[in-house]
């Protein structure tokens, strides 16, 4: 078991390295596709009337004149051991993990980025709880009574749910509950530690709009999975043994049906933690996603790189956790 965990973590780290290298290469090459030289890149960080000397200084300071692999190596070094840049009388220290300095305001990327994480985590976690509970419950009930009224209605709603763009649902909710009947107006993110009630109140609409989409998906998945497992032989055996139906469903049916759901849940949650861009945009939540959108529109490469890697990290980490959980539950996995 221990060896398995080590192996998985090692693989995840390798994956992250590869992702970061590719990301780095893409953002290194992309401006060049659009026809920008290192000089033009450097000039963007200087403002009015960039002089050749200033450009040279920036290029040297940020290492823009070095080849790709050297820049990547410096970046990795900065991540684990910090770096130094000259943006003032004394060299400024970029602390570990150093994602570099924002070109726009010359601030360290990581402190700015990490401030956004709690917002996105609140959004993603709250929505995840909502959609898991409602989605799985709906799916199970539907599967147990296929073609019942409940099944038909809930699956109809679910289909509508997966067909609605989240920015439309969000805007609709805003119109209704923040404007027409202003029971939830002045939605402003409040830290959970400051005031848990306000935190929940102000996030409930974003949660619902996200959860609506996902719970629809999960309800459909759960229902399909349940229908399949409930027709398996071992369920018949369990019933034949005289097991109570409730136990048949929970202990044998649900457990098997949930396995693929957990995999997908890991992926979805990982993706969301890297920034629920559209939901954050609609509800003006200053989370990781808005950070990314802002960084991209500013063309602030270090910030873009930082937020992309953070997002990749969440995806890989969530998948890793799911894998390890499997191994814990199902010994067969460890052997494969």
């Amino acid at each position: 078991m221990f060896a398995y965990i080590i192996r998985r973590i090692f693989a995840a780290v390798i994956l992250l390295l590869v992702v970061s290298a590719v990301t780095f290469a893409i953002f290194f090459l992309l401006p060049r596709f659009a026809g920008e030289t290192a000089d033009q890149l450097a000039a963007q960080y200087i403002g009015k009337n960039p002089s050749p000397e200033a450009i040279a200084a920036v290029k040297q300071n940020l290492g823009l004149d070095q080849p790709l692999y050297a820049q990547y190596w410096n970046f990795l070094k900065g991540l684990v051991s910090g770096a130094e840049y000259k943006f003032g009388p004394e060299p400024a220290t970029c602390h570990v993990p150093c994602f570099g300095y924002s070109f726009k305001n010359h601030l360290e990327v990581w402190p700015e980025l990490s401030k956004r994480i709690p917002i996105t985590v609140s959004l993603a976690a709250g929505a995840a709880v909502l959609w898991l509970v409602s989605g799985v419950a709906t799916g199970v009930v539907s599967a147990l009574k296929p073609r019942s009224i409940f099944d038909r209605i809930s699956m109809g709603v679910a289909l509508a749910g997966v067909s609605l763009p989240v920015f439309f649902t969000g805007a609709l909710l805003l119109t209704l509950f923040s404007y027409e009947w202003p029971i939830l107006d002045n939605l402003q993110y409040v830290d959970f530690t400051d005031n848990p009630l306000m935190w929940a109140r102000n996030l409930i609409l974003p949660w619902i709009s996200l959860a609506f989409l996902y719970s629809a998906l999960y309800a459909r998945l759960t229902r399909a999975g349940m229908l399949e497992t409930m027709s398996e032989d071992y369920i018949r055996t369990a019933r034949a043994k005289g097991l109570v139906e409730r136990k048949v469903v929970t202990r044998h049916g649900l457990r098997a049906a949930l396995t693929p759901i957990v995999t997908i849940f890991g992926m979805d949650l990982g993706l969301l933690l890297g920034g629920a861009l559209i939901t954050e945009q609609v509800f003006s939540l200053q989370g990781v996603g808005q950070f990314a959108v802002q960084a991209i529109s500013d063309n602030d490469l270090p910030k873009i790189l930082g937020v992309t890697l953070l997002a990749a990290f969440f995806i890989v980490a969530c998948n890793l956790v799911v894998d390890l959980l499997y191994a814990l539950v199902d010994p067969r996995v460890r052997l494969s």
């Binding site: 119109t175 993706l271 920034g275």
Partner: protein, 329 residues
């Protein structure tokens, strides 16, 4: 994968009252599937809507010129300039001339813009689906058939792709290429970039499905037979295996198209997809959301267009899957 709303496809074959005097004859898999599909009313409805939408998209330009509709024509006389350019009247400027109303600031006809937006949305979605399915199918078959290091390599590449935050990449790439690249600019560039980012980063999903199917197919008798008759790799791949994969690919494509429509709309909504004045559904929503309190009707028009389209494709996809693979239900 997912279950359909309707369960018609699940009914036992024997129960099908196909008429008493039905002659017994051999039916191909395709025919059986078609019979099953026809019984699924929701899927048929979805299919009909999809066909209508495709017709609309293909004929959008001719329709516009036939009725003299111009998606970019201004009707600013229908706006209240003193209110900041909002449409006059209660329902976003709805009238006989403009059944869905007009947009703020410019007074452009929303119905015409929705029609115009249809071909953009569908073309991007189809293009992206085609791209990701082509890459996914070719690499998926190769991974599944050859196994060994080929499989390992392709599977690892898929892992890397799946670890990328797709939306972020899409935005970053679209933004940096917006001004012009590869000798293109304007609408063709935006559409190409959208097709590329959506299609290129989505292929591993298709790749995984095809790989799995190939794995189970390659040990089947007809493949062994072909191999023992001396058929070479490429022949087996594309003449023997591919035809048997058409079903899953078709189903998955139908389900991928609506996802891609939403994706395109999302990017345009974030301002990095199709650029105005070109009409697109996501772009209209982006614009409309600025007026959601005072002109909510504007938001509803493109929102419903997206909803109906995506719903229709989902219904069709579900129906196709049930028809082709009854066990999945």
């Amino acid at each position: 994968m997912t279950a359909s709303v309707t369960t018609a496809g699940n009914e036992p074959e024997a129960a099908a009252p196909d008429g008493p005097a039905k002659k017994i004859e051999g039916r191909s898999l395709g025919q059986i599937a078609w019979t099953r599909f026809k019984r699924d009313k929701a899927a048929v409805a979805g299919g009909v809507v999809v066909i209508l939408l495709i017709l609309l998209a293909v004929l959008a330009k001719p329709i516009e010129s036939l009725f003299g509709l111009d998606p970019d024509a201004l009707h600013q006389d229908l706006l209240d300039a003193n209110l900041g350019g909002l449409p006059l009247g209660d329902w976003g400027g709805m009238s006989l001339d403009h059944p869905l109303g007009v947009d703020p600031l410019q007074g452009r006809d929303l119905l015409t813009r929705v029609i115009e937006g249809s071909w953009v949305s569908l073309l991007v979605a189809f293009g992206a689906t085609l791209l990701s399915n082509t890459i996914g199918t070719v690499l998926g078959i190769m991974a599944g058939y050859y196994g060994g290091w080929v499989d390992t390599l392709i599977s690892r590449v898929m892992d890397v792709f799946l670890a990328f935050p797709l939306l972020l990449f899409a935005i970053a790439i679209s933004t940096s290429l917006q001004g012009g690249a590869f000798g293109l600019h304007g609408l063709p560039l935006h559409m190409m970039v959208l097709i590329f980012v959506i299609g290129f980063f989505n292929w591993p999903y298709m790749g995984r499905i095809v790989r799995g199917q190939t794995l189970s197919l390659r040990e089947r008798e007809f493949v062994h037979a072909a191999r023992s008759l001396g058929a070479r790799g490429p022949f087996i791949l594309f003449k023997e295996l591919l035809p048997n994969l058409v079903g899953p690919i078709l189903v998955y494509s139908t389900l991928l198209i609506p996802t891609n429509i939403l994706f395109e709309a999302g990017l345009s909504f974030l301002g990095v997809g199709i650029q105005p004045p070109q009409a697109s559904w996501g772009g209209m929503l982006q614009d409309a959301i600025r007026y959601y309190q005072v002109d909510p009707q504007y938001m509803v028009v493109p929102g419903l267009a997206i909803f109906i389209t995506v719903l229709a494709f989902n219904l069709l996809g579900d129906g196709l899957r049930d028809a082709l693979d009854p066990k999945s239900n």
